[in-house]
Symmetry: C2
Subunit: 156 residues, 2 copies
């Protein structure tokens, strides 16, 4: 599914984010942000390329944008153990993590606050680190659908 060329609404979230980080508001950047704003789970750079029409943004440009967004902290890398890196918007107001089915790849989000305690303790113990600003947490298991499926197939 290719996203249609978005009109560059200067009051949109996308434009606000770009302004905030000192980026010029261009169609390619707008398209990448718009796409990431709409997804529920992280996606790969290839999925980003496939989802954005070449008329809207060239692939090389998309890769450059991903790189610069990463450095600016607008997006972050996520590891769902799918064999590649996925990306998601780094909304700093939320503290969500991922629950991944190692059998079918299903992803579910969950909220988590407990980690504050862990971070404090780790900071107390470490001799090399001064501060911690971000954390990632992924849980890997089997979803109910796959559990049911495997029961039928266990007699191999």
């Amino acid at each position: 599914m290719k996203s249609a060329s978005p009109l560059l609404d200067m009051d949109s979230i996308e434009a606000q984010i770009l302004n905030l980080h000192g980026f010029k508001i261009t169609q390619p950047r707008f398209a990448v942000l718009s796409l990431l704003k709409g997804i529920v789970h992280p996606i790969s750079s290839q999925e980003i390329c496939d989802s954005i029409d070449n008329q809207v943004a060239n692939q090389a440009t998309i890769y450059r944008i991903i790189q610069s967004f990463l450095e600016a902290g607008i997006i972050r890398e996520v590891n769902l153990r799918h064999g590649h890196i996925d990306y998601e918007l780094a909304r700093d107001e939320d503290d969500h993590h991922h629950l991944v089915c190692v059998s079918c790849g299903l992803v579910e989000n969950f909220e988590e606050c407990e980690t504050e305690k862990i971070i404090k303790r780790v900071l107390k113990q470490t001799k090399k680190f001064a501060s911690i600003h971000e954390h990632a947490m992924e849980l890997f298991g089997i979803c109910k659908a796959c559990t049911k499926k495997n029961k039928k197939t266990t007699h191999r």
Copy 2:
């Protein structure tokens, strides 16, 4: 640093792991396991290739081995936000996680048990998942060395 061709000691940890998973004991597999056994922090597939002499294992073979070890659960993917996927031995007896400096890439391990509580709570809440067997946790911050370095350079 290329690892010397290891003699295939049938009583070694490497051989035990291979036997356990029904893999034939070959020099390439032995070399990959031996390398991963010796590292403190996760490394990329390219680092694995660079560290193993071509006489000991061909690159294509190394990639095939990484793939099969992943599927067997002998190794796991780790995301240190270095732009690529790293790998480490999946010793199931340990529960270690990674503390990463986003400025210089320094990695430190830390032990963690608190997560059991979190997992129980998440399992209670989820409607889609039946079980959780593994978890990953990475903390991202700034190491003391970089903090000191940045203080000197902040006046740009």
